[in-house]
Structures are given as C-alpha cells and as structure tokens.
Symmetry: C2
Subunit: 72 residues, 2 copies
Amino acid sequence: MHYKELIKTIKERREVLRVTQATLAELSGVGLRTLKQFESGKGNPTLLTLQKLVDVMGMEVCLKLKNVSGNK
Amino acid sequence: MHYKELIKTIKERREVLRVTQATLAELSGVGLRTLKQFESGKGNPTLLTLQKLVDVMGMEVCLKLKNVSGNK
DNA sequence: CTTTATAGTGCATTATACGGCTCTTTTTTA
DNA sequence: TAAAAAAGAGCCGTATAATGCACTATAAAG
C-alpha cells in the first residue's frame, strides 16, 4: 500500500464508522491537528501515531511481501 | 501487528536476504543510525522511513481489520 | 587470542512531527 | 438559502525523529 492508499483506507474506515476527525482524534489520543494533516495528505506520521489511529478503529498495521501470488 | 512484531519482521526479512544494516540503509536511503535505532527497538520511525525500508526488501506496509475471520 | 565484520550506543545538530489556537473553506442539514 | 458542523490550513512553540561521527559490544573467522 502506498502512502495515499493508506490515507484513503483510514479515511474510509473512519467514515464507515461514522466518526468525525475530532472524535477519532479524541478516542485515539492523537491530536486533531495531526489527524487533519495526515488525512489531507500533508503529514508523515510516526508509526506510533499511525498505530494509535488504526487501533481504535479496529485495524492494525502490518507488513507483507509484494508481488507474491496468494497475497491479495 | 504490534510494534515489536513489526521490528522482528523487518529484521528477519533483512536476514533472510542476507543484507547487513549498512547495506539496507544505503539501498533504502535511510540513515544507518536510524535503522540501527529502529531494529534495536528504540525508535519510532515515520511512515516514510518505514516504507523506504520495507519497500527495498520487497515488502509493503498495509492496514487490515483485526479480529475478522478470513484475515489470517 | 587477534582480526574483522556487524550491530548497538552516546553525543550533538538539523529537520520535522505533534499539537493547540484561530481562522477559512467545504460539506451537511434544516 | 442560511445555519451548523466538519474539514483544512497558517502560525508557532515543544518534542522528538533523522542523521553523522566516533566509540563500544558482540560475533564470526583465522
């Protein structure tokens, strides 16, 4: 997943959960400003920040091999 | 994947490829110091740094739902 | 044990992520 | 439309990630 895809995934997940940026910020413990920056594609969050955000939305960061059949 | 697992995955991937930290640092464009810190569990890399590292090792950062059958 | 390669750490500097506050822009709702 | 809610952006101080250099620690090889 490229950067933009990650953002898109997070944004979509948030919208599916019908949670506002403000609420997600509060629940995750990440600053609202940071979340706004990130979702608008201007940030470069730390791994910790990313994990806080996705964790509270029931997701997790993972690594996988590229170009390997059976990975999609 | 928790933080430690991510580190472990990266470290193991690097070792499978028989690449030293110095080489990976050079290939990925990430500072050697940064890589050392990260692998030794002392860092909190930015998403960009993480992507640089895993990308050059044929991996990618992804997000997935937790606790969902069919995700493993 | 000595040499050599690789990994980990202390210190210092620079770059930048984080976050609050405020204001503007966009979207949603009545 | 107008009002309200949500998202985005500028300013900006603080915290910390990124990095190089030099040194130490560990491990492998002779």
